[in-house]
């Protein structure tokens, strides 16, 4: 039970990142790897600004903006310059590694004792610190989720969904699929960077290496949520993503606390996460083979 609240807290905060991954991978069908760079970008921008004395809310917003710019950059590389999506994302990610170091000035920025957006809100609302953070995180993240749901039902948001589904078709109906990809990746990476900014404030530091494996963690959340809820429509899909994110964070916390019994260390987490994703991705093929169909 002591792990429950932190799992939900982290599930929600990291859930913004998972929502971003859902938008690029599922809505746009674009395998965007830039998130491994935009997550620490958000952390770096927010940490640097907070240390410079900025208001943590404003710092988080600017961090989200930086993520949007980076996402749009990946989108422009892949559409206007015809660079393969995977490669475009990797290029952005590598560039961001250097840029993040530049922003922070060193590989690690501690934020201990600095104001954080979420805890400032907890105090402002007069909530107890024990469960106040979960409430504030829930209000913020569910609010963003609902805005996303609404957006994906507007004309422009529907055009974005249709672009991932069938780019030929949207072009024939007056939508520029390239614009939709750029906008969508900006939105996705804005969420990922916002998540990075909040995670830095939550855990008390920004680190240039904190983005490694973000994409796998995000995919794990998306896939776990989908397997559990089998969502139809955007509303349930985003619920599934947040549920998957919380379960994933819970599993990590359990592994960190009790894993040592089985001989796991924190450094094995990435391997375990990748194996979970691999298992989920292989499941359909394995199931088909068991049923005797051609895979």
């Amino acid at each position: 039970m002591t792990l429950f609240l932190p799992a939900v807290e982290q599930g929600l905060i990291y859930g913004l990142m998972a929502l971003g991954v859902y938008i690029s991978f599922r809505v746009l069908a674009f395998p965007d790897l830039s998130v491994d760079g935009t997550f620490p970008l958000g952390a770096a921008v927010a940490a640097t600004l907070i240390i410079a004395g900025w208001d943590p809310f404003l710092a988080s917003l600017v961090a989200a903006g930086a993520g949007m710019v980076a996402g749009a950059f990946t989108g422009i590389l892949s559409t206007k310059f015809r660079i393969q999506g995977l490669l475009a994302g990797v290029l952005t990610m590598i560039m961001l590694y250097s840029i993040n170091l530049r922003i922070m000035g060193r590989p690690n920025l501690p934020l201990l004792g600095r104001p954080s957006a979420l805890s400032t809100a907890v105090e402002a609302l007069g909530l107890p610190y024990t469960w106040g953070l979960v409430v504030v995180a829930a209000i913020l993240v569910l609010g963003i989720k609902l805005i996303l749901d609404l957006f994906f039902h507007t004309e422009i948001g529907s055009a974005m969904r249709a672009t991932g589904d069938n780019p030929h078709m949207v072009q024939a109906f007056g939508v520029n699929p390239e614009t939709m990809v750029i906008l969508g990746l900006a939105l996705a990476n804005g969420l990922v960077a916002l998540s990075g900014a909040l995670v830095a404030q939550y855990s008390g530091f920004a680190d240039v290496g904190m983005g490694v494996g973000t994409i796998v963690a995000g995919l794990a959340s998306v896939i776990v949520g989908e397997m559990l809820l089998r969502p139809r429509g955007v509303f349930w899909a985003t619920v599934a993503v947040l549920l998957g994110s919380s379960l994933y964070r819970g599993a990590i916390l359990v592994a960190l606390r009790y894993g040592s019994v089985l001989g796991f260390t924190a450094s094995d987490l990435k391997l375990l996460t990748a194996l979970v994703v691999l298992g989920a991705l292989m499941a359909p093929a394995i199931r088909a083979r068991l049923r005797g169909e051609e895979a």
């Binding site: 039902h153 004309e155 529907s158 969904r161 249709a162 949207v170 072009q171 109906f173 007056g174 699929p177």
Partner: protein
């Protein structure tokens, strides 16, 4: 003049090899014309439609739509004037979105903002549009388009292509992948929708009987050129056999085209 093509050349380069798909095509369409287009495999029919729609940029020549030079316009900008249906029923709709969403996207062609795509009023309007198709699709507005059959999907695609009253409708063998009954149905729907709105139409077909019975003008392409351009009166007097004869005299000996002349529905060979 709704459409004016002048001196269109299109050469595809595949490594060192050059394929001349269009070699100086001139074509002018008057408002309300329904033109059927036939020609052997690789004659350049699809490329011609791509050039008009803007998904393929010609090496030389001009494209004018409604008097406006749109040669350099990207496809999505011309889209508000052009409706398109392809042979593959999967190409014209978004499979994971609902029937209502697909239709509403077609309805809102070109204009896009932050208002909701589906309002109750819009849904009622879409239901009314589906009723005349006689496929009971009006009761399946909330269903994903991926669940519809090929014939249903193609009927929906034709409806979507004509929904926003385009100046031009481009049909590329749009019934070739359907079974005969569905092909008949989709063709009937096409004729009705085109007739009601008097949309200028270019229809590529492999079936000579169709090319003769439908529309009021017939074009035959061969090796990137328009080799035959028949008016409604000339068309009226021709039988399929006469048409095959005409082609032979023009030196067209393509088996597929001549086979198609025997009235067989050669859906099998038509994938290109």
């Amino acid at each position: 003049m709704i459409l004016e093509l002048s001196g269109i050349w299109k050469v595809f380069r595949l490594g060192t090899e050059a394929v001349e798909a269009l070699c100086g095509v001139d074509l002018a369409l008057e408002e309300g014309e329904f033109v059927t287009v036939i020609g052997s495999n690789g004659a350049g029919k699809s490329t011609l439609l791509n050039v008009i729609a803007g998904t393929c940029r010609p090496n030389r020549g001009r494209v004018r739509i409604g008097g406006k030079d749109v040669t350099k316009w990207p496809a999505h900008r011309r889209a508000r004037w052009i409706g398109r249906v392809f042979q593959d029923p999967l190409r014209g709709t978004a499979a994971h979105m609902t029937l209502a969403e697909n239709l509403a996207l077609a309805l809102k062609k070109g204009r896009r903002g932050f208002s909701l795509l589906l309002t109750p009023a819009r849904k009622r309007y879409l239901r009314k549009l589906l009723e005349p198709l006689g496929m009971e699709l009006e009761r399946r507005l909330g269903e994903r388009v991926g669940h519809l059959s090929g014939g249903e999907r193609q009927a929906v695609t034709v409806l979507m292509a004509t929904l926003a009253r385009p100046k031009l409708l481009l049909l590329d063998e749009h019934t070739a992948a359907l079974d005969p009954a569905n092909a008949e149905k989709v063709l009937e729907i096409t004729e009705r929708l085109v007739g009601e709105a008097r949309i200028t139409t270019l229809m590529v077909t492999h079936r000579m009987d169709q090319a003769l019975s439908l529309g009021n003008r017939l074009i035959m392409m061969h090796k990137g050129k328009i080799r035959l351009d028949l008016s409604a009166e000339e068309k009226e007097r021709l039988s399929v056999a006469d048409l095959v004869d005409l082609f032979r005299r023009l030196g067209v000996t393509d088996d597929a085209l001549l086979l198609a002349g025997n009235g067989t529905n050669n859906a099998g060979d038509a994938y290109s």
